[in-house]
Symmetry: C2
């Protein structure tokens, strides 16, 4: 089998879509500052507002509800910042309810929030990575200022029932945020039916460049800027408009809206093919995440008796790019908190690999991976028993 | 005279240098997440670290002292954030000393800081826009946690003696930040001789794209992340690395270091030619900023009896792009606080135009502008007396 490059780490980041690439290439000379009053500035501004419409359409929001940010992490941080900003009146509410499997840009802020007088409750998840609804309901009361539950998890792909959770939180008058960075472009998103106040997006997960994100802020929901000191984004986010990034994001959002259903169908088929191949040819594995309510392109597998980082490096030598968990946690020797908090043993969590497919994954890619995994796992299992 | 496009708003933002454009075009397929362990990730990481070296060299810093951010405003905000972060031990110091002409991402944070218990002192400037050294010295005491003085002003181009001001602040044990966004690539910058703890940079002011900035954090100076929840940038700034932006920034920094002296020389000559042309052909003007200690490409002129925004729009119809002040303050009907705080009357501040030249400004551009300004000013002055 001829060596090829197979990129199965699309949950970490995606390659540029050729159409997005074209937008970038065509826009390299559109350099005006979109805040400027002259023609180069106004031209840049017009293109940017078109992009804003496309991003709004992807999640069924209004244009005026979209605030462009520097990345998904900034979007998430900006929402948590509301909890301790004197500019925001939360009626004295001091509690923040979130889950035990959020992205680091939410999860790792627990201690920071606590130092600022916020009481943080991490609602546990079951073995499929679903937030336990009983525990969630119990966590709510009228002192909760904000709830943040991710729409789909980056490591396991498990999808949460954010609509139902929002409805419950609203009974207590809490604000609700959802991190939809990983869900966007893979499942349909409608902010009205979700009912959330805030929703985070990132361009580089939907085949656009890094360095650009967005935050949906529902019309009428409280907000204060995280980046301050400039009138951009209607006073909601300072910093010179990143024309190129915004225009690329707009094109990517347009493509995502147009193609997500066929993309999802194809990814699901290929993902299940990969799943079956690994089960048949390797065996002794454990699949993480929810069997059905899961992103179509995500397959998170724990291999008994093999260590994830070694698997990653051996597969990399075969030209296959996968990950052991969140790229944002790389460098940490700890096993994935997402898996451990879903009840997985530390051993199995250490032996987990995330395969994440994308728009450009082919059947040949999957056949190649299915052929190359068995000898790698076999070799590592032999080594571990020596 | 054949109509042409003349872009004299380089202090707002710059076009891409052709070599930066080439780096972007060549890097569109280098999409790996630089935090990932696999080959696509490691390739992205390697290129990014090369770029970090280039940015460090531009200001004579070490690579490990460079933190990439989303923009200059984020860099500035991140430093001011230290003032009220429980994670940073400032020894109980509660004062912030800055000038009355800082960029909005510093200046407009005054009230926000005061709401968080920080006492903010705005040191006045003289009629050339220079910080008054007597007032500055008086403002310092051992309760000052942080001083922030910009290296060069975005509207007038006036350059401050940050080295001397830092030396003075250090006698009181204060931390010192300088916003070098506008100075970079136009004057030489050496963080060691400046003696500052923090220094802000932005890529799009030196012929690279928007959406990427950097913060120099001197080794050993206190810091806590502004964007949290990811191990990127050695734990100092969360968010997926913006490979493309960082690589473009690196190339731009390399070019800036190589070319700034010849760029400065040429810009100064052309700027003085423009200055002379306006003086001779228009008259009744007032030049803002310091006559000598000023960025080589900046010319800020107040036209008696003509309104800045009208001048801007009439010049725009001739294909000439200039500004009335900071693009970050566009939309505000107030006259420039930078000019008013330098003692300019509100009338004259309203009649001011900033011409900012760049690497690609030509002699023909200047001749074109000098020819087109007189009828515009004449017309507006006639209208205002009717």
């Amino acid at each position: 089998m001829k060596k090829r490059l197979v990129y199965l780490d699309n949950n970490a980041t995606t390659p540029l879509d050729p159409e997005v690439k074209r937008v970038i290439q065509e826009s390299l000379d559109l350099y005006g500052n979109a805040s400027s009053m002259h023609t180069p500035g106004r031209n840049a501004h017009k293109k940017m507002e078109d992009a804003r419409s496309s991003v709004a359409r992807l999640i069924h929001a209004s244009e005026s509800e979209i605030v462009f940010t520097g990345c998904g992490s900034e979007s998430n941080n900006a929402v948590l910042n509301l909890l301790f900003s004197p500019e925001v009146d939360l009626g004295g509410r001091k509690r923040f309810v979130t889950s035990a499997i959020e992205h680091p840009s939410i999860y790792e802020l627990k201690e920071m929030l606590e130092r600022r007088g916020i009481e943080v409750t991490l609602v546990p998840v079951d073995e499929t990575g679903k937030v336990r609804m009983d525990a969630y309901a119990q966590a709510l009361d009228s002192d909760v200022a904000l709830v943040s539950i991710m729409l789909a998890n980056n490591e396991t792909g498990t999808i949460q029932d954010v609509g139902a959770m929002t409805a419950l939180a609203k009974k207590y008058g809490a604000l609700v945020h959802t991190d939809a960075v990983q869900a966007a472009g893979k499942i349909g998103i409608d902010v009205r039916s979700l009912g959330v106040d805030y929703l985070s997006l990132s361009a580089h997960k939907i085949y656009a460049p890094k360095g650009i994100g967005a935050l949906y802020v529902r019309s009428g929901s409280p907000f204060t800027p995280f980046l301050r000191g400039g009138h951009q984004e209607d006073g909601r986010r300072a910093g010179t408009y990143d024309n190129l990034g915004i225009m690329a994001f707009g094109k990517a959002a347009e493509l995502a809206l147009e193609h997500w259903e066929e993309d999802a169908q194809r990814m699901r088929r290929l993902r299940d093919m990969l799943d079956l191949g690994i089960r048949e040819k390797v065996g002794d594995i454990h699949c993480n995440g929810h069997p059905e309510d899961r992103l179509p392109g995500t397959l998170n597998v724990s291999f008994y008796g093999a260590e994830g980082e070694s698997i990653l490096l051996y597969l990399d030598m075969e030209g296959i790019a996968v990950s052991t968990g969140s790229a944002c946690a790389t460098g940490s020797l700890e096993p994935s908190y997402v898996l451990v908090n879903a009840g997985l043993s530390s051993d199995l969590a250490h032996g987990s690999i995330r395969f994440s497919l994308g728009r450009f994954t082919t059947e040949e890619d999957i056949a190649y991976v299915t052929a190359h995994i068995p000898p790698v796992i076999e070799r590592l299992r032999r080594m571990s028993t020596v």
